[in-house]
């Protein structure tokens, strides 16, 4: 019965490997791989939970009577304890509720975004918002809009403006918000996949960065633009818990990319050679995801076979 637990273990593996994969793979491939893996693994783990719950429920006397199968055979052939079954049912319900809530919120936010995008009038393809903020973002819609604050625009020279706009155009043209939304839904179904959803947020930024780099044919320019805008926007308020515990001193001697946030990692990636396609790595990841699917299918077949046996014995 270990097969049933495989679709539950593989998402944990995916969660652990998502960040290194997002760094190594070519951004577009990484986005597609991680998003589809998140969906497939969320579906498989939901199916596995449903099967666990079903195995446990099949032992209940009234179900045996209703289904016309031997309760005795089920008891002997069924390795799933009632507690495991109940836990699975609980996790399944929780996941389903989380997905429904997340879906509703995202759909509302997207509808709001479309409404606002329709109300904005771009000049030269971008909407300039007056005010002191340092902001630039792509607002999904039909068509989507690129919104940039006037102050930020004033700070950038023409080439950096072009880099920024190319980046945001890539987000709109390739509908990156849908990749992140789908990955977040998968992570709502199975919280082990949260690192995968975060990795997708990162790879769509990298995708847009690489697009901007190819439009401007200057990787360094894009890196410098990101750096300038990020430093202009300033640092966010931080939780001081780490400092209070003395884990992160205010003057850490060394900094490394290993624990860095997305912006320095994006800049570092642009300052190195462009990413290459990694066919073997992609194939290996696909095989592992497929294993989860096959395991779920085999487990379902086993349950079916067991139920048929129990019906025959009665």
């Amino acid at each position: 019965m270990w097969l049933l637990y495989l679709p539950l273990v593989i998402p944990a593996l995916a969660g652990a490997t998502a960040r290194p994969l997002a760094t190594r793979l070519e951004p577009r491939h990484a986005t597609w791989l991680l998003t589809s893996a998140a969906v497939a693994l969320a579906a498989c783990s939901m199916a596995a939970l449903a099967l666990l719950a079903a195995y446990a429920a099949a032992k209940a006397p009234f179900l045996a009577a209703a289904g016309g199968y031997s309760q005795e055979v089920m008891r002997r052939g069924d390795p799933i304890s009632a507690a495991a079954g109940a836990a699975a049912a609980l996790a399944l319900t929780g996941g389903a509720v989380a997905v429904a809530v997340m879906f509703r919120n995202r759909a509302r936010a997207l509808a709001e975004s479309y409404r606002r995008a329709a109300g904005l009038q771009p000049e030269d393809g971008i909407v300039v918002v007056p005010g002191p903020a340092i902001e630039a973002y792509a607002l999904p819609g039909l068509p989507g809009r690129i919104v940039v604050s006037g102050r930020l625009l004033d700070c950038l020279d023409d080439r950096r403006r072009a880099a920024l706009i190319a980046h945001e155009q890539a987000h709109l043209a390739s509908r990156h918000h849908l990749f992140s939304a789908v990955a977040r839904l998968a992570a709502a179904a199975n919280p082990l996949l949260i690192p995968v959803a975060r990795a997708v947020d990162y790879t769509v930024e990298r995708w847009a960065d690489e697009h901007a780099a190819s439009v401007t044919s200057d990787r360094r320019l894009v890196a410098q633009t990101i750096g300038q805008v990020a430093l202009l926007a300033g640092t966010r308020r931080e939780r001081v818990a780490g400092m209070a515990l003395g884990i992160i001193g205010p003057r850490a001697p060394r900094v490394s990319l290993a624990w860095a946030g997305p912006v320095p990692r994006r800049v570092a990636a642009l300052l190195t050679a462009p990413p290459r396609r990694q066919t073997i790595l992609l194939a290996a990841c696909t095989v592992i995801v497929l294993m989860a699917g096959v395991a779920a299918l085999l487990a379902a077949r086993d349950l079916h076979a067991l139920l048929e046996l129990a019906q025959g014995t009665r």
Binding site: R116, H171, E238, I248, A260
Partner: protein, 152 residues
């Protein structure tokens, strides 16, 4: 601002910034269409003869600074015109719309989730790392593409 040179005509550069902003805003409101900073400057200073000449008038860059400030405050809209910008005052409806957009800019909830921001927030560690990366980039001129702060 105080000691900008002995030859400056009194009463022109020394006008308080607030008064200048109000005057420029009034000029733009009375204008038929968008104005460039140069046009604003022409309308701004029909001064007494004593004030004529390059020292007597507000400098072009001062006008540019003030209209940029008004734009940053959300009181003026601007349009690209050639290499510079022209400015128009925002009417009440546009002001409301720009405030709407501001609300969107500042929101931290689900609406935020569908936006693709150019940069996300930096921690102070990230900021330090970023400075190192960029400094290493300009300093080493591509000799070593690896970030300066990464030593293993």
């Amino acid at each position: 601002m105080g000691g900008e040179g002995p030859r400056q005509a009194p009463g022109v550069e020394r006008r308080a910034a607030g008064a200048l902003e109000a005057e420029i805003l009034a000029i733009l409101r009375e204008a038929d269409g968008p104005l460039s900073p140069g046009e604003v400057r022409q309308r701004l200073t029909p001064r007494p003869p004593a004030d004529e000449g390059p020292q007597g008038e507000l400098s072009y860059s001062t006008v540019v600074t003030i209209v940029s400030r008004l734009h940053a405050k959300g009181l003026l809209a601007r349009q690209r015109a050639g290499r510079g910008f022209t400015y128009t005052p925002l009417d009440d409806a546009s002001l409301a719309a720009s405030r709407m957009a501001q609300v969107l800019l500042g929101s931290e909830n689900d609406h935020d989730a569908v936006l693709s921001r150019f940069v996300s927030g930096l921690s102070s560690r990230d900021a330090r790392l970023l400075r190192q990366l960029l400094a290493g980039d300009t300093g080493a001129a591509g000799a070593d593409p690896r970030p300066a702060g990464e030593q293993g």
